[in-house]
């Protein structure tokens, strides 16, 4: 994964991505296993932050979905009232959209043998709400790739409570800030001022 790609991916997940970056990631995700696994990991972590239930397997972008996303002239949006192209041209307004794209391409991983049945529908139903992936897919005229969970159980990661992790981050700041300041005081032009950021200075 190149540095540029890493930046684009990071931007995508931070709602900072522009259309070029989204396209760059989408174009590369297919052939880049490292990028795929990074995307999955970031999405999972980010998902926990957003407290949105989401079932993720290995990322495997379906060529069909990708083609649909890249389509020059998608069918006019009937259901949602805004076209795919408009959605993608606009900088991602919320992570929900990025996550939807991520989640959409996740379905149908390599170890999840394509099969008929309702498994795919179930997975789609579990996608985050919001300006949803389902409508993007439907608007683009693509269908979600049916996924079977096969022999391996699909890891369903119940997101940790958002507040719990924030409290952990707060307690770790209290615990570690002084140790961090010891280094900041010697490696920035700020002299001892980093110690003023320590919640409670200990001797």
């Amino acid at each position: 994964m190149t540095e540029r790609m890493r930046e684009s991916l990071s931007a995508l997940l931070d709602d900072e991505a522009n259309e070029l970056e989204i396209q760059r990631v989408l174009a590369a995700v297919d052939g880049d296993t490292e990028l795929r696994s990074a995307w999955t990991r970031y999405s999972l972590a980010r998902d926990a932050l957003d407290s949105q239930p989401l079932a993720l397997a290995q990322v495997d972008i379906s060529a069909r979905v990708r083609a649909a996303l890249a389509a020059e002239t998608p069918e006019p949006a009937r259901a949602s009232g805004s076209g795919l192209r408009q959605r993608l041209l606009r900088p991602l307004a919320s992570f929900a959209v990025a996550a939807s794209v991520a989640a959409t391409v996740v379905i149908g991983g390599q170890q999840l043998a394509p099969a008929g049945g309702d498994a795919g529908t179930d997975a789609v139903a579990r996608l985050p709400a919001g300006p949803s992936a389902v409508s993007i897919l439907n608007v683009a005229g693509a269908t979600a790739v049916p996924a079977s969970y096969g022999t391996q159980p699909l890891p369903v990661l119940a997101p940790a409570d958002r507040t719990a992790y924030r409290e952990l981050a707060r307690s770790r700041m209290n615990r570690y800030m002084q140790l961090h300041a010891e280094h900041a005081a010697l490696n920035t032009p700020q002299g001892l001022i980093p110690f003023a950021r320590v919640p409670q200075i200990h001797e």
Partner: protein, 313 residues
């Protein structure tokens, strides 16, 4: 440094800059801004001063007294909080010859001579306007990050000495996350009287060449990805629970905890001014860990660093 020495240093640096040192692999730079940065990097260690500094973070303001006294070979530093906890932090007998990695990165004259571009690869430096800070005439240097892994800064340096008088940390959308500045400043080389402090902390002296002590974890581990330009501030053992990195302006530390039980994967963060605490629970090679990144960096930097942690084989 005497004024004559400073002039010689600046003259030789100017020669380097004008002599095409930057025609090589280094990005195009504003040589005036680079000269000022170099001057700042020296003045903070080589000048005696004391004064009152304010630190603003969101709607909170702290006031503290700072002093730095040097006899040319070694320095004494002290910070006394005048608000809040009222603690004192001091550093005794810091040798002038002891240059830490972050400060080295700012010494552009030496970096260029060594064929390195230093922080000019990571930030675009340019000259800003003039202003008065603590009654001193100051020049502004605008420091803009060239990627999304660090914040920007607006630094105001004493026009005469190069001392950093004011610094604003700038985040996304030009929002000022933190600002500190001298409210009063004196170059009198005598330390002001010590005030009574219930808490006096003697600052530690972590350095790459010194033996490391600190908490450890069960297995050696490593951070496999760092944003460009960041270097370790010291040399902890492979099973040390902390790693710290600097690019000369920003510093972040990574803390690892191994957990006995599993944890629901996830992340959370809090920030105060420009300081972030990002905590991530995950499994690394089957072992549940809690990773915390603390520092003056954006959350995406912390997330990507935490994501790259791996056990060493």
């Amino acid at each position: 440094m005497s004024r004559a020495t400073l002039r010689r240093t600046l003259a030789s640096l100017a020669l380097l800059l004008c002599g095409g040192a930057f025609a090589g692999p280094c990005p195009e730079v504003d040589s005036a801004a680079v000269l000022w940065l170099d001057k700042m990097a020296r003045s903070m260690r080589e000048i005696s001063y004391h004064g009152v500094v304010t630190l603003q973070r969101e709607d909170e303001m702290q006031v503290m007294q700072v002093s730095h006294l040097t006899d040319g070979d070694a320095s004494i530093e002290r910070l006394t909080q005048l608000t809040g906890q009222g603690a004192e932090v001091d550093r005794q007998a810091h040798s002038r010859a002891c240059v830490h990695p972050g400060h080295q990165l700012l010494r552009m004259s030496e970096e260029l001579r060594a064929g390195r571009c230093g922080i000019t690869e990571r930030y675009r430096l340019s000259m800003g306007g003039r202003e008065r800070v603590a009654g001193r005439s100051a020049v502004q240097i605008l420091v803009k990050p060239l990627d999304m892994y660090r914040f920007g800064y607006v630094m105001s340096l004493d026009h005469e000495t190069g001392l950093l008088l004011k610094s604003a940390t700038v985040g996304h959308g030009n929002s000022v996350l933190e600002k500190y500045q001298f409210a009063s400043l004196s170059y009198d080389p005598r330390l002001p009287e010590t005030m009574e402090s219930a808490t006096v902390h003697h600052a530690m002296h972590p350095h790459p060449a010194l033996v490391h002590t600190g908490p450890t974890v069960k297995r050696p581990w490593q951070v496999q990805w760092l944003p460009g330009g960041f270097a370790a501030t010291d040399a902890p053992p492979a099973n040390g629970a902390r790693r710290t990195y600097t690019d000369g302006l920003a510093v972040f530390s990574v803390f690892l905890e191994t957990l006995e039980r599993g944890i629901q994967p996830g992340e959370g963060y809090v920030s105060e001014g420009g300081t972030l605490s990002y905590t991530r629970g995950m499994s690394v090679g089957g072992q549940s860990v809690l990773v915390t990144v603390i520092g003056e960096v954006p959350v995406n930097t912390a997330r990507m660093v935490a994501d790259s942690i791996a056990w060493m084989h």
